[in-house]
Amino acid sequence: MLSVINDPEIPVVTIFEMGMLRDVKITDKGYEVIITPTYSGCPAMGIIEQDIKMTLEAQGVRPVTVKLVHDPAWTTDWMSNTAKAKLKEYGIAPPLHSSCNSEVFTNNIIECPHCHSDDTVLMSRFGATACKALYQCNNCKEPFEYFKCH
């Protein structure tokens, strides 16, 4: 049931595909869903919590509590390949596979999700949400977002 819940910031992927859904426990007090936040300040966490409760309780699974667990820390490597493919389809370049996060300092090649050209340029390390950077494609001239490796 939980696999239908989307990431409110990127509605094409589910929280399961993002790798945020860690565990579900059945206790004598009810159901406990354990999730790991993606980014420290991600404002979507509150909405995700609500969505989980509403989805489960609407199906008669109750009472539900949602617990945030920070350890171990989420990384973009937990995103499934399906999630990465869907991101690309949606027009967001998926994160490079690497937890080393050295891209802050070096200019990695990010493929344009529209025309697949490698000739792209970083416009701003910061985009509309904490997890994305802004790029522009020199080939098709389209701007696009890149999901930062994290």
Partner: protein, 252 residues
Amino acid sequence: MTQEQALYKYCLRMGDDALIHSYRLSEWCSNAPILEEDLALTNFALDMIGRAQAILDYAGKIDGKGKTSDDLAYRRKERDFYNHLIMELPNGDFAYTMARILFVSIFEYYFFSELCHSADTTLTAIAAKTVKEVKYHMAHATDWALRLGDGTDESNTRMQQAVDELWAYTGELFETDDATAILEDRNIAVDMGMIRAKWKTDVTRILTEAKLKVPGDGYNQTGSGNGVHTEYLGHILSEMQYLQRAYPEAIW
């Protein structure tokens, strides 16, 4: 002081740093010189508020009195805040804000990198995430330090002024106290001496490259470890805590 009390204070210091610096950066929202900068500064503020929430929630758990991060943020008085003084200083001009981000982010980068090896697994998880975020803050502030320092006479003068004024507030970042001593013995806290040397090396390199003078070490402002703050924190709290004080149980 018990280990719990020491850890509680250690967490408040980290959490309050993130909370108060975040507050200052969010004041730039819609006031930054260009749109990209508005996004960058508010992105940083968001990183910090998330970090503050995670650390203060943990502090509440350690304290064991059922306090949430909101309780700690909105219902403590000035003397119970332990953020370093540098975080609460007014934004000044853009150069001043950037110089502060530069000094703080380099400190936080080394601090949280070390904290990744702490014996406390909640702190290591928060630290791992923070390091990734702080790298962006550091890269961004370094770019601006170079651009402003090695820019026009005007931008160089302003950046130098910011560096000189903030310098006396940087020593406090490396202070230790009874709490850190207890936690260091148990491999929970970070060795400040080592971080200080690395911080100085990096800052010297960046300022020199930016054609800025590295101020000499002199008098350092201090007090926040005992909850003694500049006049500015009270003003921040009176605004930040207004709603919770006027309507104590208000929720969204």
